[in-house]
């Protein structure tokens, strides 16, 4: 076990390193750079004289004329030696501060969505497996799938509009205006919870379908095993029979969600957060990528991929603990 853990750890570090290299290179691939972006912004507002000499000077100033590997080396060195993630050209701040500020809400939203996915798909999955091919199976499946079938941005936009039109107040952001910068209080928590309903539903429903399907398939599989028949023969009530072992074993995919949840939900979260204006990592990462604010973008990717790798690791270990039938290789 210990040897297994150690080996995994080494591979995890290696994986993260490769990801940062790829990410750093990819971010720089598009022609143009942060300065191009700045020029576009100024121009789009009508500023009509942008001297090419000035533009060149700006590139020098931001170190954008260095080759990629030099930029990467500097970046990595600063992270390793001083924990310094570099500097955001957009916000003129430490990239680390920016990343740290956005992470808590991202976590909150992601973990709430995972919980939501679990709570919805577990009962529906069990239900539609037990009542396979009944009208209830179809209905449950249909409800579970409708979320994945609707394009997220549209879903978000429509719910936002409906909350404005019929709820009297558009639920935008994660806080009402009076709570945005207020200190934590119960009222603020309540406000946050109210605002989280729509995003959690939208992000969650796009993943319930998959989990329902897996749950259903796994449970059907388990239900046909001899031990179930044996238990039934012993006179165990049908409910207990199902929940005692088959459901437990069929739960494995739920544990696996811990691993993929983060990258998956962050990807799904980008669009929802952009539409609903949520203060999470998604929009900042997206903007940073678009504006080629490379240290912020690379920093986010580094942090997110590290978390993903750790998540996968945890879920693998949990699987081993939960289901003794899985052995370590």
């Amino acid at each position: 076990m210990l040897k297994y853990l150690a080996r995994r750890l080494i591979f995890m570090i290696l994986t993260v390193w490769i990801i940062t290299v790829i990410a750093f290179v990819v971010i720089q691939i598009p022609p143009g750079d942060y300065v191009t972006n700045m020029v576009t912004e100024m121009m789009s507002q009508g500023s009509d004289r942008i001297d090419p000499v000035v533009v060149d000077q700006l590139r020098d100033q931001y170190g954008l004329n260095d080759p990629v590997y030099v930029q990467y080396y500097k970046w990595m060195k600063n992270i390793v030696t001083e924990g310094n993630f570099g500097y955001s050209l957009t916000f003129r701040r430490d990239a680390r501060v920016l990343i740290i500020e956005r992470l808590p809400m991202t976590f909150l939203l992601t973990s709430s969505s995972v919980l939501f996915v679990w709570f919805v798909s577990l009962p529906i999955g069990v239900f539609s497996a037990v009542k396979q091919y009944s009208i209830w199976d179809y209905l449950a499946t249909f409800i579970g799938f409708i979320g994945v079938a609707t394009p997220n941005f549209l879903f978000a936009l429509i719910l936002m509009y409906l909350s404005y039109r019929y709820g009297g107040r558009a639920l935008i952001g994660l806080f009402s205006s009076e709570y945005v910068n207020a200190p934590w209080s119960w009222a603020r928590v309540a406000d946050l919870l109210k605002h989280m309903i729509i995003p959690v539903i939208i992000i969650g429903t796009s993943y319930t379908a998959g989990l329902i399907r897996t749950m259903r398939a796994n449970l059907l599989d388990e239900l046909k095993r001899p031990y179930v028949d044996a238990a039934r023969a012993k006179g165990l009530s049908e409910t207990r029979l199902i929940w005692k072992y088959p459901v437990r074993y069929a739960l494995n995919p739920f544990v696996s969600t811990i691993g993929w949840a983060l990258p998956g939900l962050v990807a799904g979260e980008v669009i929802v957060s952009i539409v609903l204006n949520l203060p999470t990592s998604g929009p900042v990462l997206f903007e940073a990528l678009k504006e080629q604010d490379m240290y912020v973008a690379a920093g986010f990717i580094l942090v997110l991929s590290t978390l993903t790798v750790i998540g996968t690791f945890i879920s693998d270990v949990l699987l081993v603990i939960l289901d003794p039938r899985i052995r370590l290789e």
């Binding site: 507002q45 009509d48 000499v53 956005r102 935008i172 952001g173 205006s177």
Partner: protein, 644 residues
């Protein structure tokens, strides 16, 4: 305790003997500041204001003090998102609210020599930066001598967007006394005063010497220490640029530097980042008062709310979550919201622009045969006749506006009928007649052939990522259809604005659609981009521009002699001493523009709408909207107030 007593005594002394407006009234201030004055944290209002503050006449009524205005913007840059236009932008001069001319602002008054080479500005005595330090002629001289003429900060020589390229090195400024500065230009510069209220004039009063000299190598020999401790600074030049938000750095980065003194009505107190909001608070030293001696602004605080997407921002405004947004989209939605009782009021604006769109054919495009065709007047005239403008107006512009070429508006002294109305008729036969002169032969699909036997086909790049470019793709799709009918193949290429910037920097486009600035008043002189080549947005001659701008890149192309002469002729417009002479000289340029027919236009813009929260007072019902006019700044946001 003794100190407090002294303060109180001072306040008691000051109240009865406070400064007066017109020798009668006492100045008043926001209760928020009164509290600070009483606490001893701030000098009394009379000491904070200049001896002769600028008096602004409220647009509708004298306002009430207090409250916080919430303003929504899209993206990560509060300034460009709209806050620059509302909370910033104070120059030596400003526009009169009706755009009738430049009026004194930071400068109390000015004199111009007869040869329009020398400008003497009188500053306001006792005027202060937002940190309380005096604003004097030294600040302006610091800009001219230590920034503009500093070889490290301005390595390419003195260059500023208010300073004509010609004779820039011979420009100089003199400090007459603490409140008087004289600008002496190498050549006559008759349009200088129009430059002052605009974006171009911002740098002159932008640099607080007392704060910035610590980042300047000439003033602080130990500047290297500051460089070392500043994130993102490589040397003192970049340190200076970061701290000053200039000269080369984007001005709007001042929103990221909270300690920087400003002359604006509101100053930022928090930066954008983790939160979706940033805060601004009134500048206690702001130099304007209303007609009753109330120090402006009326509104105590401004909160900038960042949105990622236009739609959430629109909803938030209709909802009452925010009070104001720049560039609202979705006219029908806002009028519906107004009808159904949303807390909104509606204002209308007249667009400054001379046209809804300008269509550019890149004369410098890398395909020589194509460039030749583009430069052929018959080609452009033919394509212009092929456009069904009435239909575009009906489909894209909601039936508003009339067909027109890119030209000064009828209300402008520069209106040029030929330029406005030539080649407007929608007539396929006429179009074919002109195009037959360029490319008479056609292939089996009915498309015209170029002289080298290839199909006459070009890529029409349409930027479409910004809200104000939203309907450009529709225009592009219609154009492609019209031109197909006359045998010219245009391939629509919808791109993001960033990609388009990249392409123009590399001269890598064939034809494109852009805006139609240069319509109202004298803006054709100030925004001549579609009337004369050599401006950044003169996209029809993109490489010519780079040649004039002195770019080192391979993208530069030397313009032919007649184009160079035209540019020289245009430079002379700005040198004319009187408005009549300027109009006369510009009329010549516009006549040439009519001959050359640089760009194809579509239609005059219809009227614009501006929804705002009903609690904002003193917002004009009708105003003129344009970049050169200062967008919101011409509505004097410092005199907006929030009704209780």
């Amino acid at each position: 305790m003794r100190k407090l007593c002294l303060y109180l005594f001072a306040i008691l002394l000051l109240i009865p003997f406070g400064k007066t407006v017109n020798g009668q009234e006492t100045y008043h201030e926001s209760p928020m500041l009164t509290a600070l004055v009483e606490a001893g944290e701030l000098p009394p209002v009379g000491e904070r204001l200049p001896t002769n503050p600028r008096v602004v006449e409220p647009f509708k009524e004298v306002g009430e003090y207090g409250d916080a205005m919430r303003m929504g913007f899209v993206g990560n840059n509060p300034g460009w998102g709209g806050l620059w236009y509302v909370t910033g932008w104070e120059n030596l001069a400003s526009w009169a609210p009706d755009f009738s001319g430049a009026v004194p602002n930071i400068a109390e008054s000015w004199e111009v020599s007869d040869d329009v080479r020398e400008y003497t500005f009188h500053l306001r005595e006792g005027m202060k930066w937002s940190d309380g330090a005096p604003f004097t002629a030294d600040d302006i001289m610091f800009y001219i001598e230590d920034i503009l003429f500093n070889v490290e900060l301005s390595p390419a020589g003195p260059s500023a967007d208010w300073l004509p390229r010609e004779g820039a090195a011979e420009f100089r400024a003199e400090k007459i006394d603490d409140y008087t500065v004289k600008f002496i230009f190498a050549n006559p510069y008759g349009t200088f005063l129009y430059t002052l209220p605009q974006w171009n004039g911002r740098h002159i009063t932008w640099f607080p010497k007392h704060y910035l000299s610590q980042f300047h190598a000439d003033y602080n020999p130990n500047v290297a220490e500051l460089v070392a401790e500043t994130e993102g600074a490589e040397d003192w030049v970049s340190l200076f640029n970061i701290k000053a938000s200039g000269p080369t750095e984007d001005t709007n980065n001042y929103f990221n530097n909270l300690e920087r003194p400003l002359l604006f009505p509101w100053v930022p107190t928090s930066v954008l980042g983790g939160s979706t909001e940033m805060n601004m608070v009134r500048n206690p030293y702001y130099f304007k008062v209303d007609t009753e001696g109330n120090q402006l602004p009326y509104i105590d605080e401004v909160i900038g709310v960042s949105y990622q997407d236009d739609e959430a921002r629109n909803l938030a405004l209709a909802n009452g979550d925010i009070d104001y947004i720049k560039d609202a989209t979705g006219r029908e939605f806002f009028f519906d919201a107004l009808d159904s009782g949303a807390p909104l009021a509606m204002s209308f604006w007249n667009d400054e622009a001379g046209n809804t769109n300008s269509i550019h054919f890149n004369f410098n495009t890398q395909d020589a045969v194509l460039a030749g065709i583009f430069q052929d007047l018959n080609f452009r005239v033919g394509l212009s006749h092929a456009i069904n403008r009435e239909e575009i107006i009906e489909i894209v512009h909601q039936g508003q506006g009339i067909p027109a070429q890119v030209s000064p508006l009828e209300t402008s002294p520069l209106y040029n009928e030929r330029l406005a109305s030539q080649y407007l008729e929608f007539n396929i036969d006429l179009a074919n007649e002109y195009l037959d002169k360029v490319a008479p032969d056609r292939d089996s699909d009915g498309y015209r052939l170029r002289s080298d036997g290839e199909r006459l086909s070009f890529v029409l790049s349409v930027p479409n990522s910004e809200a104000w470019q939203a309907n450009w793709v529709s225009v592009g799709e219609l154009l492609v259809g019209y031109w197909e009918k006359v045998g010219v193949e245009a391939l629509l290429d919808a791109v993001s604005a960033d990609v388009m910037t990249e392409r123009r920097e590399q001269n890598n486009f064939e034809a494109t659609i852009f805006t139609g600035e240069g319509g109202a008043g004298l803006t054709p002189i100030l925004q001549p981009r579609y009337y004369v080549p050599g401006e950044y947005d003169s996209l029809f001659g993109v490489s010519w521009y780079y040649w004039w701008a002195g770019a080192q890149d391979a993208v530069t192309i030397e313009p032919p002699q007649d184009i160079k002469d035209l540019r020289v002729q245009f430079e002379q417009v700005g040198q004319q001493p009187t408005q009549e002479a300027q109009v006369a000289a510009m009329t010549e340029i516009l006549n040439v523009a009519a001959d050359k027919f640089w760009v194809i236009g579509i239609s005059r813009p219809g009227n614009g709408f501006q929804p705002y929260n009903i609690r904002i007072g003193n917002f004009p019902d009708q105003w003129i909207h344009g970049w050169g006019e200062g967008v919101e700044k011409i509505t004097y946001p410092e005199q907006w107030y929030l009704k209780q």
